[in-house]
C-alpha cells in the first residue's frame, strides 16, 4: 500500500491524558521529520476492526486487542506483527490476593469461595488470573463465584478502577480473593487502598507481556522500520522526551515480541472470549 497520509496510529481513549500523550508524540515525531497522526477509538474492539479495515497503520494495542487483531488478520489470510512495546510491558504477572489473616493458604481452598476480578475484558485482572486458577482445576463460576467489577468495559481493563474496586471488596471482607496485576498491588498499597501487610499473594500467574504496537502485513515496511527506530531512540535522559515517556509509563521502548502472549491466547480460548477467527463469543460483552 502506498502511504498517502501521515503514518497513522490508532489508540483507545481510556483517559483524557491519552490526548496529551499522542499530541506530544505527534509533535516529537514532527521534530524528527516523521509525518505522524493518530485516531482515538472508544473501544479496543472498534480499533481492531478499523485496523483490519485499513483505517490506521499501526495500533497501540492492549494484549487482548493484540490477540483479536492477530486472529482477525489470520482469518483474513493476513499476518499481524508486534513491532514495539514498552520496557514495562514485558514480563508482567497477575496475582490473586487474599487477606493476610485468611484461612485460604492454598489455591484449592478457593473452592466454594468468591473471587473478585476486574472488568469482563481485562486481560490482567480477569482473563489471565481466572485461566490461571482454572489450570488448578478450579472452574470460574462453577468451583468458585466470580464477582466482576466492570469498569469501562471495551477498554480492556486499561482503567485501573475495576481492579481497585476488586481489591476494596477484598479488604472489606465482601469477597475472599481478588485478582490484580502485580504493579497495581504496589500502587494500591501506596495510595492506601491496601494497608501494609493486610493482604498476601495466594498465587501468581506466569510471566506475560502487555501492550504492543501492532502492524499488519500490507504496510510499507520501511515506514514501520523508521517508526520503530524513532521510538527506540527516545531517551529518558532527554528532557523533551521524558514527560511523554513518563505519561505513557515507560523508560525505554523495546522491539516487539509475541512470545509473551501465549498465556493470554490460551486464556481467551479456555474462557471463550473470542473464537479462533477473532469473533467475540463471550456472553454479556456489549459488542
Amino acid at each position: 500500500m502506498t502511504i498517502t497520509r501521515p503514518f497513522t496510529l490508532g489508540a483507545v481513549a481510556y483517559d483524557p491524558k491519552v490526548v496529551t500523550i499522542w499530541e506530544g508524540f505527534t509533535d516529537w515525531f514532527a521534530t524528527q521529520g516523521f509525518a505522524f497522526d493518530y485516531v482515538l477509538y472508544s473501544s479496543y474492539e472498534t480499533q481492531a476492526e478499523a485496523h483490519i479495515a485499513g483505517h490506521v497503520d499501526v495500533t497501540w494495542d492492549s494484549p487482548l486487542a493484540w490477540v483479536r487483531t492477530r486472529r482477525l488478520a489470520a482469518a483474513a489470510g493476513r499476518r499481524a506483527s508486534a513491532v514495539a512495546m514498552r520496557d514495562t510491558d514485558q514480563d508482567l504477572t497477575s496475582v490473586v490476593l487474599v487477606r493476610a489473616d485468611s484461612d485460604i493458604t492454598d489455591v484449592a481452598h478457593l473452592a466454594g469461595r468468591t473471587v473478585s476480578t476486574g472488568a469482563i475484558d481485562s486481560p490482567q485482572a480477569t482473563l489471565l488470573p481466572l485461566a490461571h486458577l482454572a489450570n488448578f482445576g478450579l472452574d470460574p463460576g462453577t468451583s468458585f463465584d466470580v464477582r466482576r467489577f466492570d469498569v469501562m468495559v471495551t477498554k480492556h481493563g486499561d482503567h485501573v478502577g475495576g481492579e481497585r474496586d476488586a481489591v476494596k471488596a477484598l479488604v472489606s471482607g465482601e469477597v475472599d480473593a481478588a485478582c490484580v496485576i502485580d504493579g497495581n498491588q504496589l500502587l494500591f498499597a501506596k495510595e492506601g487502598t491496601i494497608e501494609p501487610d493486610a493482604v498476601r499473594i495466594l498465587t501468581r500467574t506466569g510471566l506475560y507481556d502487555h501492550c504492543t504496537m501492532t502492524v499488519l502485513d500490507d504496510i510499507d515496511q520501511t515506514v514501520v522500520d523508521r517508526f520503530v527506530e524513532l521510538l527506540l531512540s527516545m531517551s529518558f535522559d532527554d528532557p523533551n522526551v521524558r514527560p511523554l515517556l513518563q505519561l505513557e509509563g515507560l523508560r525505554q521502548w523495546r522491539t516487539g515480541r509475541t512470545t509473551g502472549y501465549t498465556q493470554l491466547e490460551a486464556a481467551v480460548d479456555r474462557l471463550g472470549f473470542y473464537d479462533t477467527d477473532g469473533t467475540i463469543i463471550v456472553e454479556g460483552y456489549p459488542r
Binding site: L92, G183, Q185, P196, D197, I201, F236, R251
Partner: protein
C-alpha cells in the same frame, strides 16, 4: 563487571509498607550498573521487588544457589534514576551572601523552584516580567524582611481601642476625614506592590518576601484606619476626584523602579512625615497609637525602596534621569487636578488644633505649615541619597503631588 556494593536490610518490611524507600536510598548511593542485595522476610518481597524493578527500570535477579549472603535477590541499578539530573542546573544558592547565589538574569524555566535547588531541565517557562537582578535586588532585603516579620503587630492587641475620646464632634469629623484620606492612599500602597509581586522572578526570594509582608502591612493599616474612622458611629468622609487621580498615576506606572520610587521614596516617605505629625498632634490616644505603629511600617517600606534604588542607580546611573522625568511627568499629569482636597487640609488643621476655638486653629494651622516644610525637606534628603544634587533634589521634591502620596 557489575559489582555488588551494598546490601539493604528490610527486616519484615514489605514494599506494601514503604520498603521501596529503603531500596531507593541504597540505590541512590550507587552508580548505574552497580548492584545491591536485598535481605528481608516479608513473604511477598521477592515478587514485589521484581515488579518494582520492572516499573523503575532496574534489573532484578535472584542469586545463584550457594552464593547468597542471605539476600533474597540482587538489584542492578538502571540508568533512569539519574535521568532527571542530566543537564540539571543549580539555581544559585539559598544563602544570598554566598558568591554566585543570586543570578543576574535567572531563566524563566527555573520557575517556582527554590533558589538553590537543582533544576531538572524542561518543563514550563512561566513569564516573570521582572527578572533582572539589578532591577530589584538589594542585599538588605533579607534583613529588612526579618525586621518586618519581627515587627508585625496585632491590631486588636496593639491598640487600646477603649482609650477615651475627649474632643468635640467637629474635631472627630476631622479625624474621620483624615482616616478616609489615609485609607485610599494605603489602598494604593497595597495594590501597587501587590501587582508587581506576582511579576518578580521567585529567584529573588527575599525581595518577594519583603513585598509580601508590605502588602500585609498595608492591609492592616487599612483595617485600623477604617476602625478608627468608624469607632464612634460615624460614616467615612469624602473621597475626591483629585486624590484618586493622583493615586491613579501610581497604579498606571508599569516600570518597577519608577513605581517603587514614586510610591515609596516620594509617597510613603511623605507619609512617614504625615504619620509622625499625627502621632504628635492627634487629639486622642487611639489615633496616636495607630499613627505610631503604621509609621514604623511605612519607614521600613521606604528603607527597602531606597536600598534597591540606591543599588540600581549606582549600577545604572541613567536611571536617575528616568526617575526625574517620571516626577516631572506626574506633576504635569496632575497639574489640572485640585491636589490635596481642602477638606483634608482643613481636617489636618482641626485635628492638630484639637478644638474649634480661634486659638486652637491658629496653632493647628502653624503645625500643618510646619508639616509641609518638613515633608519637603525629608523628600529632598531622600532624593539626595539616590545621588541627586541638592538643587535637583529640591526641584524634584517641590514637584511632588500635593496629595502627599
Amino acid at each position: 563487571v557489575n559489582r555488588r556494593r551494598a546490601t539493604v536490610e528490610l527486616g519484615s518490611l514489605g514494599l506494601d509498607g514503604g520498603g521501596d524507600i529503603l531500596v531507593k536510598l541504597a540505590l541512590a548511593e550507587q552508580q548505574t550498573g552497580d548492584e545491591i542485595g536485598v535481605r528481608g522476610t516479608h513473604p511477598d518481597l521477592a515478587g514485589h521487588l521484581a515488579t518494582w524493578c520492572r516499573q523503575h527500570g532496574h534489573r532484578w535477579r535472584t542469586p545463584a544457589e550457594g552464593t547468597t549472603d542471605g539476600a533474597i535477590g540482587i538489584i542492578e541499578r538502571g540508568p533512569a534514576v539519574s535521568a532527571r539530573w542530566v543537564g540539571a542546573q543549580h539555581a544559585g544558592h539559598a544563602d544570598p551572601t554566598r558568591a554566585g547565589a543570586i543570578d543576574a538574569d535567572p531563566p524563566g524555566d527555573w520557575g517556582l523552584a527554590a533558589r538553590g535547588a537543582t533544576i531538572e531541565p524542561g518543563g514550563p517557562t512561566p513569564q516573570f516580567r521582572i527578572h533582572r537582578r539589578d532591577e530589584v535586588w538589594t542585599d538588605r532585603a533579607a534583613a529588612l524582611y526579618a525586621q518586618a516579620t519581627a515587627a508585625q503587630w496585632d491590631p486588636t492587641k496593639a491598640i487600646d481601642w477603649n482609650a477615651p475620646i475627649d474632643h468635640n464632634q467637629r474635631v472627630e469629623a476631622a479625624v474621620v476625614q483624615v482616616m478616609t484620606f489615609l485609607i485610599e492612599n494605603e489602598e494604593a500602597a497595597l495594590v501597587v506592590p501587590a501587582r508587581f509581586l506576582g511579576q518578580i522572578h521567585p529567584h529573588f526570594r527575599e525581595v518577594q518576601q519583603f513585598i509580601a509582608v508590605t502588602v500585609a502591612d498595608e492591609a492592616r493599616h487599612i483595617e485600623v484606619f477604617t476602625r478608627r474612622a468608624t469607632m464612634n458611629g460615624n460614616d467615612l468622609a469624602l473621597s475626591t476626584v483629585g486624590g484618586r487621580a493622583s493615586l491613579q498615576t501610581l497604579l498606571d506606572e508599569p516600570d518597577y523602579a519608577i513605581a517603587s520610587f514614586l510610591l515609596s521614596v516620594m509617597g510613603e516617605g511623605t507619609f512617614v512625615s504625615l504619620l509622625s505629625f499625627l502621632e504628635r498632634h492627634a487629639p486622642d490616644p487611639v489615633t496616636r497609637q495607630i499613627s505610631y505603629l503604621t509609621r514604623n511600617d511605612e519607614a521600613r517600606h521606604v528603607a527597602f525602596s531606597l536600598a534597591h534604588l540606591e543599588r540600581h542607580t549606582r549600577i545604572e546611573p541613567d536611571l536617575r534621569s528616568r526617575l526625574a522625568r517620571a516626577v516631572e511627568q506626574r506633576h504635569r499629569a496632575l497639574q489640572n487636578t485640585s491636589g490635596l482636597n481642602d477638606d483634608v487640609f482643613d481636617a489636618l488643621v482641626l485635628l492638630a488644633a484639637g478644638d474649634d476655638t480661634p486659638e486652637a486653629v491658629r496653632s493647628g494651622w502653624h503645625h500643618v505649615q510646619h508639616l509641609q516644610h518638613e515633608m519637603n525637606d525629608a523628600r529632598a534628603a531622600r532624593l539626595a541619597r539616590l545621588g541627586f544634587t541638592t538643587g535637583e533634589a529640591e526641584a524634584l521634591s517641590s514637584l511632588h503631588t500635593r496629595n502627599f502620596m
